[in-house]
């Protein structure tokens, strides 16, 4: 961390560009890659600071990986660092996604692309359900959590209530239900 003051924004951008470009294969393998680059190779942050950033990334809204990067960027260069790590980390994905979007809009109506997207659409539904399954296994461990999940499911799936409102209400309910235990 002492060396951190002499690290240039350009270098931070380049390292995070690399991380963002090769960050395939799920959160866990991404974090290993992160740690190798930042802790072992660059020695910008210590192992403890890295763990702290990962924890913070998971406790804050938004994508945990990006948030971990923002936290490290902030530790290195304050707000400028946070901006640069976000830009570096998201650059490649955004450019590729926009290129695919252009291609997608241009080929609208093409029969072959239509068939491919039909297959992919079905797979995405399977993917969503597997995310639900995995998250549920990790998060829903007592009956209270199960009630939160079930209520939300019915409120959106059957009653068609507004999900932003539901998230706010579940946050409030969580505060009421869980605050005693924490204090």
């Amino acid at each position: 961390m002492y060396k951190a003051r002499s690290i240039s924004l350009k270098n931070i951008f380049l390292v995070f560009l690399k991380i963002g470009t090769f960050a395939f294969g799920g959160v866990y393998s991404m974090l290993i890659f992160f740690e190798k680059e930042l802790v072992e190779k660059c020695k910008w942050v210590t192992h403890e600071e890295f763990i702290e950033s990962v924890a913070l990334g998971q406790m804050t809204p938004g994508p945990p990986i990006i948030n971990t990067g923002i936290c490290i960027g902030y530790k290195l260069k304050k707000i400028k660092g946070a901006l640069v790590t976000t830009a570096g980390q998201t650059f490649t994905g955004t450019v590729l996604a926009v290129l695919l979007a252009i291609f997608y809009v241009k080929t609208k109506g093409n029969v072959l692309i239509g068939s491919i997207m039909k297959g992919i659409g079905a797979a995405v539904v399977g993917l969503l359900l597997s995310i639900v399954y995995k998250m549920a296994k990790n998060t829903i461990q007592d009956y209270k959590a199960a009630i939160f999940a079930l209520t939300a499911f019915i409120a959106l799936g059957v009653l068609k209530l507004n999900p932003i409102g539901l998230i706010l209400v579940s946050g409030l309910a969580g505060f009421i239900v869980y605050k005693e235990k924490k204090e």
Binding site: A23, G26, E52, T60, P63, L83, A122, G126, K179
Partner: protein
Amino acid sequence: MILLKFCLILFVVNSLTIGGGFMMLPVLHKEFVEKYHWITNQEFLDAIAIGQITPGPLTVMNAVIGYKISGLTGAVLAMVSSYLPCIIIVTLACRYYFHYKDSVIVSSSFQGIKPAVIGLLAAVAIPLGSTSIVDLMTFSIAVISFVVIAFSKTDPTFVIIGAGIVGALFL
């Protein structure tokens, strides 16, 4: 005006949902597909697929939707409004790390939000499933994808590419 609404929705979603990119899907689906009809169910699924096969978090799918709504400007604004709340919240949380970490309000309300968004995500699979699962073939693709991703460590990117190939050949 549409663009402003679009950015505002993304800003709110990214300020509220915890637990990764998938958790923003219920809100995005409600607002973009059901309420404003900016995109169809199929286009929503396609955006998820593109977000998944490109490196980085699923959030990049917002650039695809932004592009669909108003071209390059839409894509760039989508990314800015998705990541801006993260930058604001995380830098504040980082600065006041110990206050944030030990805050009862933050941890207890997120403890309620976390299981709730899982329920929301399950609910959103219903309209998306009824759009994309139309026959035995698409049903089989969905089931196989679920099993492979849920019970093995296979990268979902490969499953999506595989499903695309199957679609090209048989659908």
